[in-house]
Symmetry: C2
Subunit: 254 residues, 2 copies
């Protein structure tokens, strides 16, 4: 049985995609079989992995709206141990098109049940909202990974996020909970980051991973080459941090 | 007649709220009357201005869903020349609740028509998506201000954004167009930022404002004190940049 993790935070630009892509890379390096699902219409995880979005045949959109077989959507990547469900801009229409679909929140859950036995982990990159796409991810997941940037607005949305997870727990998926919280773009030199980080640790306690992801330009450069940080610069501070995070994730799930 | 500007980019965390709050502050300082509309369910602009979201009576949600009178929603702020339409978490339910409403995309437009004569500018802070809330903003606007962070994923969403604006132009609001593009969190030391910025300038030409907003921690600190950068640290690089941007905006609209 795979451990299915949704990477969620409705606050934009906090490192959801960067965390999904690079965590998947280091889990795979450690011999874990990983399926990466790109549930964000922006398709950043798809292009960050080097795919050309315009040339994709079947995507996550087809899975959710056209009841495509998930095996037709899964692409094997040239990277050992990582498969991907890519996405393109069509996905932007899914939320409206699914409004009156039956059991619209559990389409992804039912699709993943068919393939999860092949993987150790399924990582789902979510868009910056708590709409139907993110609900599908939460309904399908064993746990939620929340990247949080150490800045003021980061604190604002946390209660909304926790409330949404509790709603999903009550109505769609009794096993869901916060698997972990990871501090991203950490810059220990600024008081603001230290203050916000302290508040996050007070709020989430030991759910906060010990590994903080530092602000590191190499992480922002890697996707422009279609590479993960493990491929682009594994010796960078960002690479080492995601490698350490992967180890913590494995420890928490075994 | 007010010039109505939507601050839009579906990419998350690019500085939409920071730009809306601080541009409004410097336009007001130069004697322009400004109405700031917070159309993001996260309510960052509302709290960035120092409002306590839990104590608000009527909000943008009531305007869109309960047909509240916009004059009941507008709050005068203690800041000269700036009024605000605040928001709270209720707004997160609006998109689903409005799915079958008649003329759901033009509710905001019709509401603003009643008050726009009192202002020089209306600035609308949008959520990181191109859903119904952002469509309402686009339908009501004279122009779109697009903040763009100089990083790789920033380029990904531009064609989707331009396509959406063109759709709105064709079906909802013939006068809309890109009013301007502003480079945010600019760090000239990194090659990545310089490269992406060059590509943005190639794509948008002279729509790109000459003023680049530098990465400046004081901009991230100000909202934790409920202050604009003009109040918190007007001599900072961030303060000077938004002041210069306000001057450019005034020049383009007179
Ligand atoms: N630790 C880091 N150091 C430096 N840059 C980073 C780091 N993590 C992410 N970035 C960069 O910051 C930007 C935002 O990150 P990312 O796109 O992963 O966030 P996101 O939460 O997925 O955004 P969205 O809400 O739009 O989906 C990207 O340009 C990314 O390359
Ligand atoms: N020029 C800047 N320098 C440093 N920090 C900045 C700058 N502009 C914005 N920030 C900080 O970066 C984060 C993202 O900015 P902001 O919240 O304004 O973006 P946004 O596009 O409104 O995000 P969202 O997509 O979630 O609505 C915030 O913590 C903000 O304080
Ligand atoms: Mg993302
Ligand atoms: Mg915002």
């Amino acid at each position: 049985m795979a451990y299915i993790i949704s990477v969620v935070n409705q606050k934009g630009g906090v490192g959801k995609t960067t965390t999904t892509i690079n965590l998947a890379a280091y889990l795979a390096q450690r011999g874990k079989k990983v399926l990466l699902v790109d549930l964000d219409p922006q398709g950043n995880a798809t292009s960050g992995y080097g795919y050309d979005k315009s040339s994709l045949q079947t995507t996550v959109y087809d899975l959710l709206v056209n009841e495509a077989d998930i095996n037709d959507v899964i692409q094997t990547t040239k990277r050992k141990n990582i498969d991907m469900c890519p996405t393109n801009i069509d996905l932007a229409g899914a939320e409206v098109e699914l409004v009156s679909a039956i059991s619209r929140e559990t389409i992804l859950k039912r699709a993943l049940e068919q393939v999860e036995s092949k993987y150790h982990y399924v990582l789902i990159d979510c868009p910056p909202s708590l709409g139907l796409l993110t609900l599908n991810a939460l309904a399908a997941s064993s746990g939620v990974l929340v990247p949080i940037q150490g800045e003021y607005y980061a604190l604002e949305g946390l209660t909304q996020l926790v409330d949404t997870i509790n709603l999903v727990k009550k109505h769609l998926n009794p096993k869901i909970g916060i698997f972990g919280v990871v501090i991203t773009m950490f810059d220990g030199r600024t008081q603001l980051t230290r203050q916000v980080t302290q508040e996050v640790q007070n709020y989430f306690g030991d759910k906060v991973f010990k590994t903080f992801i530092p602000r590191n330009i190499r992480l922002a450069e890697a996707p422009s080459h279609g590479k993960t940080i493990a491929e682009y610069d594994s010796k960078s501070k960002g690479g080492k941090a995601y490698n350490a995070l992967a180890l913590e994730v494995i420890k928490r799930t075994t």
